[in-house]
């Protein structure tokens, strides 16, 4: 659905985005992680055809960014939730959405149906005739999301949708994104909330002017220091147990006292034969834990590179 190939944006001497190459599948929630000033917003603006690229290529829904004709087509199939909600504060919630529905050529019936549907889903239907300027931050954010969805776009770009929201409002927004995920919407989510990315995203990319890593949150967690399994025994680890484990293809196997540690790629597959081998060698397993680097560790390591 979204492809970029060496996409670059320079503002004078400043390079905001450098040689960005990534791929977002149809129906995927793609988390775009990076610190402030990493080029996340610039990337979204390029993909939404709001600003021009300096070099490289990118397509959204098969349409080329940078082409005048395709730019209009891209803007028809996308919805944008910018980092500043940008609502017309002197219009009611209903009128804000109705205006955008008209711009996207939605029929009167479609507009009515979608406005009710999205305001209902976001708990704002009762406030439809209230001026947007009187809304709380969370309500404004929800309204901005509804605005981006009013024409049922194929791709939704969200730029820090939960930034500055209280935990309850953040949860509502997150739950709504999960709801959209179930509906197989393609979502490009700019965030520096790692917990959010881990919970919501199918795939994430870590960015700091250039792309540092991309993959599933689990893949990225493993990419830095991998994961370890720590097995606790009822008794001291003896030679019988160690000899049994050495027969298995375990990396970095070590033992100390009554604990055994080894690296693991896929704990679901690899831990079961380990437990079996220990039991057969007369050991009694008390506990088994998988420990490893978190997405935060990976993120910090990669953005500091």
């Amino acid at each position: 659905m979204i492809d970029t190939d060496n996409l670059t944006k320079k503002f004078g001497d400043l390079t905001a985005v450098e040689n960005l190459t990534l791929h977002v599948d149809d129906g995927e929630v793609f988390g775009f992680l990076g610190p402030n000033g990493a080029g996340k917003t610039t990337t979204v603006r390029m993909l939404c055809c709001l600003i021009s690229k300096t070099s490289g290529n990118a397509t959204v829904g098969g349409y080329q960014i940078g082409s005048k004709e395709d730019s209009l087509k891209i803007r028809k199939i996308i919805g944008l939730v910018p980092d500043n909600v940008g609502l017309s504060e002197n219009l009611t919630a209903y009128d804000n959405l109705d205006f955008y529905g008209k711009i996207y050529d939605c029929t009167t019936a479609q507009r009515k149906e979608n406005i009710q549907r999205f305001l209902d889903m976001l708990g704002l239907w009762d406030k439809r005739n209230v001026l947007a300027g009187t809304f709380s931050k969370g309500m404004k954010q929800k309204l901005a999301i509804a605005r981006a969805l009013i024409h049922e776009p194929q791709v939704i770009f969200m730029d820090e949708p939960t930034a500055n929201l209280d935990p309850e409002a953040s949860k509502t927004v997150r739950d709504f994104i999960l709801q959209l995920k179930k509906e197989k919407k393609t979502i490009f989510l700019n965030t520096h909330n790692l917990d959010e990315a881990q919970r919501i995203c199918d795939k994430v990319a870590i960015m700091n002017t250039s792309l540092r890593a991309t993959g599933t949150p689990q893949e990225l967690e493993r990419s830095v220091s991998g994961r370890k399994t720590v097995v606790g025994l009822e008794q001291q680890v003896n030679d019988l147990v160690l000899r049994a484990l050495k027969k298995l293809p375990l990396k970095n196997l070590s033992s100390e006292g009554n604990t055994i540690t080894f690296d693991v790629e896929d704990p679901d597959k690899e831990n079961s034969p380990v437990v079996e081998a220990i039991v057969q060698a007369g050991g009694h397993v008390r506990s088994i834990n998988v420990v490893g680097s978190t997405l935060e560790d990976t993120y910090l390591k990669l953005v500091r590179k």
Binding site: R45, L50, S52, P82, G86
Partner: protein, 247 residues
């Protein structure tokens, strides 16, 4: 460019204006002052018997001069509206989502222009109607005929006034891109009135005359200025420019 899309923006802006007092003040105050003040001045002069100013021989010139204030008013009124319409969006940061829609820059700019031009035209034509009726009422006994309507005022209202409004709106667009609040936009926007005040002073010193020919020439010059402002404003009102360079 699709006029229907520009109209959607203008219609949205009209809805917003209904709730913004400052826009109402812009639309109402100056037209009311012009339409009431000038007939009132003549009435006052007539009651006092100051025939030096209100004598039949000088009255037509005086009325022509007064009429020109309708043009100055027409250039002043849209400053408040256009400034609010664009700076207001900047303050609310509502331009970015609008720019992410399938509208062209020209459609957005035209929508903004329509939303400033239509209320101004309505207000100024209403003011002109009251002005003409008021002046006719006050001057009939002195002149012995109704001074308005005449070809002068027709040229002024139908040719010069729309050109002055368009020029003012385009100037507001340029000013609005450089400032962050409506008050500053208004303050800088006032500069567009200087050429019109200059024309007024030149007419008062008889260097130019505000007859039909004179008004058409002035309209032509202002139209040329408006065309130049149009090119500058379209360069200013571009997506990338708005998102990266506007203050």
């Amino acid at each position: 460019m699709r006029l229907s899309k520009a109209w959607i923006i203008a219609a949205r802006d009209f809805k917003i204006f209904r709730r913004v007092k400052n826009v109402w003040y812009s639309i109402i105050i100056f037209p009311v002052v012009i339409s009431v003040l000038f007939p009132a001045i003549l009435e006052y002069l007539a009651i006092r018997g100051s025939h030096g100013l209100a004598a039949p021989s000088v009255l037509p010139n005086l009325l022509t001069s007064f009429s020109f204030f309708l043009v100055i008013g027409a250039a002043y009124v849209p400053l408040g509206i256009a400034s609010y319409s664009i700076v207001g969006e900047k303050v609310e940061k509502s331009l970015e989502p609008l720019l992410a829609t399938p509208l062209t820059d020209a459609e957005i700019l035209l929508g903004k222009a329509i939303s400033a031009i239509i209320p101004t035209l309505v207000a100024m034509y209403a003011a002109a109607a009251v002005f003409m009726v008021g002046i006719d009422e006050v001057t009939f006994s002195t002149l012995g005929y109704y001074y308005f309507p005449n070809w002068n005022i027709a040229t002024l209202l139908l040719v010069l006034m729309p050109v002055a409004i368009v020029m003012s709106v385009l100037f507001s667009v340029i000013v609005s891109s450089r400032v962050n609040d409506v008050r500053s936009a208004n303050s800088f926007g006032i500069f567009i009135l200087f050429p019109l005040l200059g024309i007024y002073l030149l007419s008062e010193t008889s260097i130019i005359t505000l007859d039909v020919n004179g008004l058409l020439i002035i309209s032509g010059v202002l139209l040329a200025v408006a065309v130049a402002l149009f090119f500058v404003s379209t360069k200013t009102f571009r997506r990338e420019e708005i998102l990266t360079k506007w203050k």
